[in-house]
Symmetry: C2
Subunit: 193 residues, 2 copies
DNA sequence: GTCTATAGGGGGATAGAC
DNA sequence: GTCTATCCCCCTATAGAC
């Protein structure tokens, strides 16, 4: 693809990462994407439509960079894959920063904008289930309810650490260390005894 | 106290909890407080002034409800106090909801507004140290670095769960259960072996 | 201190040509 | 599909009476 539409969504992710959802101006987005405001409304109907599609877009993109690996890379074990999926969101690269910032903004916006909640809840659920499935591969004897709870905590922790990182209160390396420790702690809690 | 000024700040907390920082309209605030917009500008100079004073107000209030207990209440052990301090922020009461929503808004705003970062970082540090101290009382043999890491994770987890609760993706009871499980997990990780 | 009335402008959204 | 031009609402902030 890389259709015109995608160019606008990429631009939206950049603008949101720079200004926040509240700071997003359709005019600025238009300039960033190199199109007119009219075209944006033609494609996305209104401001909320822009936001909703951007959320979907960053979600797909995150899925790509957390799951796709090189063609001849060695296959990962579940434990490694688990760490990958949670630690890849804590990297100081432009794309990850954009995704994390946009995700955090959308989460915060959803508190006051019911229109965003459904999409967000669905995306969160997919993510939690993915983590729970990986936890289940590492700890096959653990009951499903415990796996689900651990996955919910790990993903919520990830969001909390990400916000602290982005709001300048936590160095990225330290955030990664804390996240790794959290995985460790949850896995011990799931150990057979 | 309970001056006219305080009435406006209480109203501001309610409006922010309902609409968010970005959704606060001075006219709506005026109606909520039962005064005119002119009076609000007379007291607080401008929109930013309203926000700054409201966030200060909310902070003082949170300190009150997480630390003050009844005069003849039995003293809490460190473990109970730890649970109190972390679970009190996950309650579906108007005041807690207001405070949590405002805190989340502040955290999210700080990502794009460096002016807010310093206050936020300081408040977070105080909170983390408080939790670390309580963890240290429950697990006196644990090294300081491990206590600090556990406290950072628990407070970050608390913020993450709070956001999910407020954005409608997580029932409050479930959030509390998850938080309690997180405390449990971190305490086992700090056990002497 | 408190109100009413209003200026002033930013920005979302649309109309209509191409 | 894409652009230009523009409407007009909403919301911040101020002026001035009481």
């Amino acid at each position: 693809m890389a259709s015109r539409n995608t160019r606008i969504l990429e631009a939206a992710a950049r603008v949101i990462a720079r200004r926040g959802v509240r700071g997003l101006r359709v005019e600025e987005l238009a300039a960033e994407a190199g199109v007119s405001t009219g075209l944006i409304y033609y494609h996305f109907k209104d401001r909320t439509g822009i936001l909703r599609h951007t959320l979907e877009f960053i979600n797909d993109r995150a899925e790509r960079y957390t799951t796709v690996r090189g063609p001849d890379a060695p296959p990962l074990g579940p434990r490694e894959e688990l760490e990958q999926i949670l630690l890849l969101e804590l990297q100081d690269t432009a794309e990850v920063r954009e995704n994390s910032a946009a995700w955090g903004e959308l989460r915060a916006s959803a508190v006051f904008d019911p229109a965003l909640r459904e999409d967000l809840a669905r995306a969160t659920l997919v993510w939690v289930q993915e983590v729970a499935a990986l936890l289940g591969q590492v700890r096959p004897m653990a009951p499903a309810a415990k796996l689900a709870a651990a996955a919910e905590r790990l993903t919520a922790l990830m969001e909390g650490l990400s916000m602290r990182w982005l709001s300048g209160g936590l160095a990225i390396d330290h955030a990664r260390t804390l996240m790794a420790g959290g995985i460790e702690a949850e896995l011990s809690g799931l150990e057979p005894r």
